[in-house]
Amino acid sequence: MIFAEWKPIAELIEKLKPYKKVLLAGCATCVAECAAGGEKEVETLAPLLRMALQKQGHTVEIVTATLDKQCEWEFVEQLAEQAAEVDAIMSVACGIGVQALAERFDPKPVYPGVNTSALTIREEAGLWAGRCAACGDCVLGETFGYCPIARCAKSLLNGPCGGTRKSGKCEVNEDVDCIWNLIVERAYERGQIESLAEPKRTKNWSNSGHGGPKRVIREDLRQ
């Protein structure tokens, strides 16, 4: 899922305090999964914002809504009425949702309530971890199912750097596995270590954000 987390509340207050009425808009998909922007989080953040604003002497009315998906126009449309009644919108969906609202409800100011930061899996309750960096040239087939782009701090393609700790963790964070240590372990387990002895050439990053803004056309789906 797309992972996001609340921006510091002080930052949100700064954005909202000039307005009289604001819509706080959530999304029931990824950001609900990562407990940042689903209905529950919207209904947690709204009272907090109201209390904080009032305490600082700002009278801002905050109304709330949570869409099934903020990244699809059909769902975004459901906000039309509420959006018309407010001075500004704060979205706690991922950056895609925020932009969808900004585009649909232009010129209404739309602010992000969260920082969108990764593509994660929920490893266990209350623990999310990055899995993919949308690199545009997937190598999972050669790395035994572990992503060395998102999960190695240096996005190495030819094996572990010299920083693997004795514990098998990454030099950058002692709580995070050195993914190359796991890749190598799995390769040995499967008796396929030779495949990692092959050099991986320099990567083509152009199919990711590094190649410029993404734009894809599928003629078969066009109307």
């Binding site: 950058v172 190598v184 050099p199 991986k200």
Partner: protein
């Protein structure tokens, strides 16, 4: 004697001498004088001098500039390049520039991640956007392409080849230990002419790793220089053992430092023993010596090890 590049380090190794390299960290400031002063202390005691590239992700004088100053002072640099801060375009451009300035040895490294500058002792730049466009093994191939085929990574040719003597690092005792020999092989196959290892203290485990490399025929395809950091105290050894990945310090050495009446003397004694042990390993062709924040110790140590004078005073 046929050499690829003709650097002093390459010639020393090609002639079969036991090589000595030392490390010169560029200053955290713009003073050429600091580099010159270190050069003055170290002139003549090693065959080439590693110049670090923003080591531990702390901003220092660039490795190209500091290398050039060494060169002007009559010391041959081993210019280090890390993949953290520059993409393949910048790295290749810097390599051409470095060659134009007279650099002939490079050491290709991934580079310490920027998340903790100097292990958290300095602010560093944890908010920096890192690059890691290519990795250290790919970097070796890129340098080799510039040297052997006068071609850039993207396939365009360069007007004339830029021959470098190519170095790489090896952390033989880092996990996954078994794979470290394979990774060494990858570096050598990619074009590494010489290897400098992570600091060695556990000579027994190190010699086993070197034997594994010899068994794979790697030791004759490249020149492996054993990394040695002069121990200064028991605390330093303990710290490295616990916190520096790939460094294994036997308890016995820590104990010796702890019990020593004069830890300084003991540290030098241990260093000399390590150099001696390295010289007796058939797969080892030299030593890479470091005295962290104490370069002044190196001349005496190298002399005491019987490694002076160097074959070519350059």
């Amino acid at each position: 004697m046929k050499t690829l590049v003709g650097s002093n380090l390459e010639r020393v190794l090609a002639e079969g001498h036991f090589a000595v390299t030392a490390e010169v960290g560029p200053p955290r400031g713009p003073e050429a004088e600091v580099v010159k002063k270190k050069a003055g202390i170290l002139r003549g005691v090693a065959d080439a001098y590693n110049v670090t590239d923003n080591q531990t992700a702390v901003v220092r004088m660039s490795s190209i500039a500091a290398s050039k100053i060494l060169l002007q002072e009559g010391l041959e640099p081993v210019m280090q390049i890390v993949c953290r801060d520059r993409n393949r375009i910048a790295i290749q451009s810097d390599l051409l520039g470095a060659w134009a300035l007279g650099m002939r040895n490079v050491l290709c490294l991934s580079g310490d991640h920027q998340s903790a500058g100097a292990g958290g002792k300095l602010n560093g730049h944890p908010g920096a956007k890192n690059v890691y466009d290519i990795d250290s093994i790919q970097l070796i191939s890129v340098v080799k392409g510039l040297r052997d085929e006068a071609v850039q990574d993207g396939g365009d040719s360069i007007s004339s080849a830029a021959p470098f003597f190519i170095g790489a690092a090896w952390t033989p005792l880092g996990p996954p230990e078994k794979f470290r020999t394979i990774r060494l092989a990858k570096k050598i196959n990619a074009g590494a002419d010489f290897i400098q290892t992570q600091a060695v203290y556990d000579i027994k485990r190190f010699s086993e790793a070197v034997r594994r490399a010899e068994d794979m025929g790697l030791a004759e395809k490249t020149a492996i220089l054993a990394g040695i950091i002069i121990p200064r105290s028991a605390g330093m050894l303990r710290y490295m053992n616990n916190n520096v990945p790939g460094i294994e310090v036997p308890d016995e050495l820590i104990g010796r430092m702890k019990d020593a009446a004069d830890p300084h003397e003991e540290g030098i004694k241990i260093t000399l023993e390590l150099i001696d042990a390295a010289r007796n390993l058939s797969g080892i062709k030299g030593v890479h010596l470091q005295a962290i924040e104490a370069e002044g110790l190196l001349p005496d140590v190298i002399k005491a090890a019987g490694l002076l004078p160097r074959p070519h005073v350059y």
